[in-house]
């Protein structure tokens, strides 16, 4: 259930961005979620809806982007796509070293309201 912690962290990022970039509402959140990140996408979306219910992001859509994970073989150095943390090298069967696929990053937002360019209330 660390999806709840992660959803809370997304909300914290939204609130911080709202102060810095001056917006009042969030309608859409684009999140990059690596396929090896061990996060349950459905649980994350559910948690996001729950933690944002009474906030600037109520009703916002959380869109997940899942670029393929890349690995390189520890034995022969071959680069390949990893479907899981234990996908073996397709060339020699050796174990892989993960190059990408663990990302959990808010990329951009669709927002409205506030005053673009201002940063503080009052």
């Amino acid at each position: 259930m660390h999806e709840v912690s992660l959803a809370r962290e997304i909300l914290r990022i939204l609130q911080e961005q709202a102060r810095m970039q001056g917006f009042g509402r969030v309608h859409r959140v684009h999140l990059e979620l690596g396929p090896l990140s061990c996060v349950d996408p459905e649980a994350l979306i559910f948690a996001f809806e729950a933690v944002t219910a009474d906030t600037l992001a109520r009703g916002a859509r959380l869109e997940l982007h899942r670029p393929p994970a890349r690995g390189t073989c520890r034995h022969c150095g071959h680069g390949y796509t990893m479907d899981s943390l234990v996908t073996p090298c397709p060339r020699c069967g050796g174990p892989g070293r993960i190059l990408s696929g663990l990302e959990m990053r808010v990329r951009d937002l669709e927002v409205s309201g506030g005053h673009a360019g201002t940063s503080r209330e009052g």
């Binding site: 259930m1 660390h2 709840v4 912690s5 992660l6 809370r8 962290e9 997304i10 914290r12 990022i13 609130q15 961005q17 709202a18 102060r19 970039q21 917006f23 009042g24 509402r25 309608h27 090896l36 990140s37 061990c38 600037l56 520890r74 899981s84 943390l85 234990v86 174990p95 993960i98 990302e103 959990m104 990053r105 808010v106 990329r107 951009d108 937002l109 669709e110 927002v111 409205s112 309201g113 506030g114 005053h115 673009a116 209330e121």
Partner: protein
Amino acid sequence: MCTTCGCDDHSPLRIDGGSLHPHGQGQAHAAGQRERRSIPVEADLLARNDAHARANRERFDSARVRALNLVSSPGSGKTALLVATLERLSGEIPLAVIEGDQETQRDADRIRATGVAAVQINTGKGCHLDAHGVGHACDHLDLREDGLLFIENVGNLVCPAAFDLGAHHRVLVLSVTEGDDKPFKYPDMFRTADALVINKLDLLPHVDFDLAACEAQALRLNPDMVIFRLSARTGEGLEAWMDWLCAGRPQAQQADDRDEDELETLRRRVAELEARLQRAGLMSS
């Protein structure tokens, strides 16, 4: 007030039953403009935790304290291992413990019974410790030079994996009463742990647990993993574990000013350990 976080969330964390510190902060305001616009953010969800973890690590290093994050599923005997370890090290090196638990003080009480100082973090609904909570827990502890700090994470093999606490080592405790296919079931945890303790070895004759298969899976996920087979209850195998605990010092940038004798001793100990592991067939050649 902590510097990295601002602590503006409604944290359910409790330290020794009390709050982290009193505070309150305003909400972002909603206003006028209707039109939607797209704005770039590029913010990592773990960045804040990682910043706290770095701060913790610097704190441990400057205090010359070696910190270990102990993770396991519930019922692995992690607290029993910790108690057995503390009983053997108590009086020899400075020790401190941070206990993570969702609700109770029970584990901290078991630790305190050994005479070692322990701070309890109750995470409430939270299923893992984070670096922020650990930093605050350290404020309640006396971290003494050349000591060991054990951080017992909440019993859970999924959630704690993503959260670096700033510890130097992540130790995964698994018991032979659990499935020998745990590594592939919880790959993220095995991937990120640098040591694996297989506990309750005394029960091995009574259970259907394939040690070699389990270790092979673990090493597949993490070829650099150090593995200990032991029984916290009978004391079997504890020696190698204790040697490993005491062999290293905090990730030493102080290596330069350490004198040669000490380095030589460390090198010998590492060689001994490696030889022992190799004899047990635990290291890939």
